[in-house]
């Protein structure tokens, strides 16, 4: 029986009194899990209060971590629980970014704050969303889509020149996809902005579309948004455009099969438009109606006439390619896209080269290339009447 410890780490602020700057949260409806999570948090906090009253040792066990005796870590956990509880009761949402920035001295790094949020979610048997804490959105969307939020306000993705920030899925009441014929997820912000400024989603020969970017690897909010689109219309063609490099293949793999947080878009929901090895190895553009506009014929990257500078795989690229190959290797797997991804990684390693999406733009017109590739993809799939 250990001696009761003195109160070395009193809570500096009483519950329910943390001040928040106005406007940083978004009102959302109560869900059926809200009461459960509130109850769990209150039970946990109640136990802490009892321990304080009885002068017991203060502790909270967190999943996948040994018992925390650190006063700072304890304070971090209590604060997150308190903020989550308040967000629940007030029917609001916090972002992980906000938690860190408002209490930087306490957490030290964004990663530490994020990690504790995830651990607490596991401890409570909830998802992070159920704690009313979400990742800040880095995704953008532009195109033929109107989003009605739960508060009845409307976000029209066709209006701003540079796209709109993707709203959290749980704040969305309705999506109007009536004029939408395709969705293109683009890896890079620069390519996204270039396509927005030329209003490709409107001028495309394949009809009205929607452009989306998560600016690199997919984040949870962007994936949740894309899942909403697919839930609304499972036949909506959704394509991903990434660089021809190991990161590009891995980014698509994360969209399709999910990363460690299991935010996959499902086996049939999303498809890899490119860049694939055939796009840089073969002559292009002959079949495209817009090819007449090109002054010069396209040249394969492996042609001795190709004047474009070639980028070569680095050590990190090769290591990532090997790791991704391993993740895609499932014995008995008859998934044709997994097969194609493996083959493309192997060819990439054989070539020893990589190519950016912008390479297509320089060799010709990205819109021309997209028209051809999207049309080919749509032709092989069910197209809206």
């Amino acid at each position: 029986m250990p001696q009761p410890t003195s109160l070395n780490h009193p809570i500096n602020q009483p519950l329910d009194t943390v001040a928040r700057s106005p406007g940083f949260t978004t009102p959302i409806p109560t869900t059926h899990t809200t009461a459960d999570v509130i109850t769990k948090i209150e039970t946990l906090l109640g136990r802490v209060l009892d321990d304080i009253a009885n002068k017991n040792e203060l502790c909270i066990d967190v999943v996948a971590e040994s018992r925390s005796s650190s006063a700072i870590k304890f304070a971090q956990i209590i604060l997150i629980l308190q903020l989550s509880h308040d967000a629940h009761v007030a029917n609001e949402i916090l972002t992980k970014r906000h938690i860190y920035y408002q209490h930087q001295e306490l957490f030290g790094t964004q990663r530490r704050a994020d990690d504790l949020v995830d651990r607490l979610a596991l401890t409570l048997g909830s998802s992070r969303d159920d704690l009313h804490i979400v990742a800040a959105s880095k995704g953008l969307v532009a195109g033929a889509l109107k989003v009605t939020l739960q508060d009845e306000s409307i976000v029209d993705a066709s209006v701003p020149e540079t796209g709109v920030i993707i709203p959290p899925a749980r704040t969305i009441q309705r999506l109007d996809t009536s004029t939408l014929r395709w969705v293109l997820v683009v890896e890079k912000d620069a390519v996204f902005r270039s396509l927005c400024s030329s209003r490709y989603w409107q001028t495309s020969l394949c009809g009205n579309g929607l452009l989306v970017t998560a600016k690199g690897y997919p984040d949870d909010l962007t994936c949740a948004f894309l899942r909403l689109l697919l839930d609304k219309d499972q036949r909506l063609p959704m394509m991903v455009l990434v660089d021809f490099d190991p990161d590009g293949v891995n980014i698509f793999r994360c969209y399709k099969y999910g990363s460690s947080r299991q935010n996959s878009l499902g086996a049939t929901g999303v498809h890899w438009l490119g860049i694939k090895s055939r796009h840089i190895l073969n002559l292009r553009g002959a079949a495209s109606p817009r090819s007449q506009q090109n002054a010069m014929p396209s040249t394969a990257i492996t042609s001795t006439n190709c004047a474009d500078p070639v980028a070569y795989l680095t050590f990190r690229d090769r290591r990532l390619a090997k790791g991704t190959l391993g993740r895609l290797d499932t014995p008995g797997d008859d998934d044709p896209q997994a097969f194609e991804l493996r083959k493309e990684l192997q060819v990439m390693l054989m070539l020893g080269t990589k190519a950016e999406i912008e390479w297509l733009d320089e060799a010709g017109n990205l819109a021309t290339w997209l028209d051809t590739e999207i049309a080919q993809f749509l032709h092989g799939n069910v197209v809206h009447p």
Partner: protein
Amino acid sequence: MSKQYLTTHTVDNAHTTDIFALATTSKAILSASGSSTLHIYDTTDPTFPLKQSISNAHKLGCHHICASRNGRVAASAGFGGEVKLWSYNQDSGEWSQDGEVSTSATKPGEAWALALSEDGSYLAATTNDGRINVWDTTKEGKPKIQDYETGTPGSGSFGMSVDLSMDGKFTASGHQNGAIYIFNNDTGRIAFSLSGLAKPVRAVAFSPGSTRLAAAGDAGIIAIYDMKHGEHVSNLTGHASWITTLDWSDSGEYLLSGAMDGKAKVWSVERSTCVATHSETDKALWAARWLPKTGRSEMFCTAGANRSISFYREATGN
């Protein structure tokens, strides 16, 4: 004067995915691809039947395979970084695994291109940081006996190709930055540093007499070097895309090359001219190999992205 080669046979769908490498012996072709299986085709039969399949040889696929000239030892390198040795059983006519060489699994690309010595006693492999490792395959545990450096440790250019001369004297390597190095195996030092290509060197090959080295890659040119003084003696020009593979004929008279546009060319080394061009496909060729001359006609085979192995026989017009 040009030579005529006829397509005599094609093994369609030899693999379920791209074929990346071929190795030839006097009796067989060993083929490697992005699948985990190695295949062995019988070249003593004019229909080139599949004689053996080795399943699960390389879990993530295989990018390089080579065989010793005497046809008794083979080595293969997988995308997962492992290098396996295979030995031929003359009684059963089958290949079986004969161990593995130890490479650092934490460094992908630690073993990329492979070459075996004439009798299979030594195996050379290139690395991600431009070194060339050489192992003794005949000793217990297959110890590494050489570690040639081409830059300050850890900073060499990726090693894309390697070959061991038939007389055992030299090791040649080709690199991503266009460099070509010749190492003297007796002294363990660099003998020559060859220039002239300036772009990735995807293939290096010693002539059968070990007097010449052919090197080629993204420049689309085959450079020929003399091994007595390391001099650049000639260029073979005519390919329009990256050259991926080179092989000398038994006599050293002809050089076979394959390229990314699917074209295979036969060159007269003495006259520095192309004497034949074939393209069964417009997809990448990753491998082209002469078959050891057993009859009156010379034969070669090619393979690559179209997943077939194509066989060509010299037409005897006389």
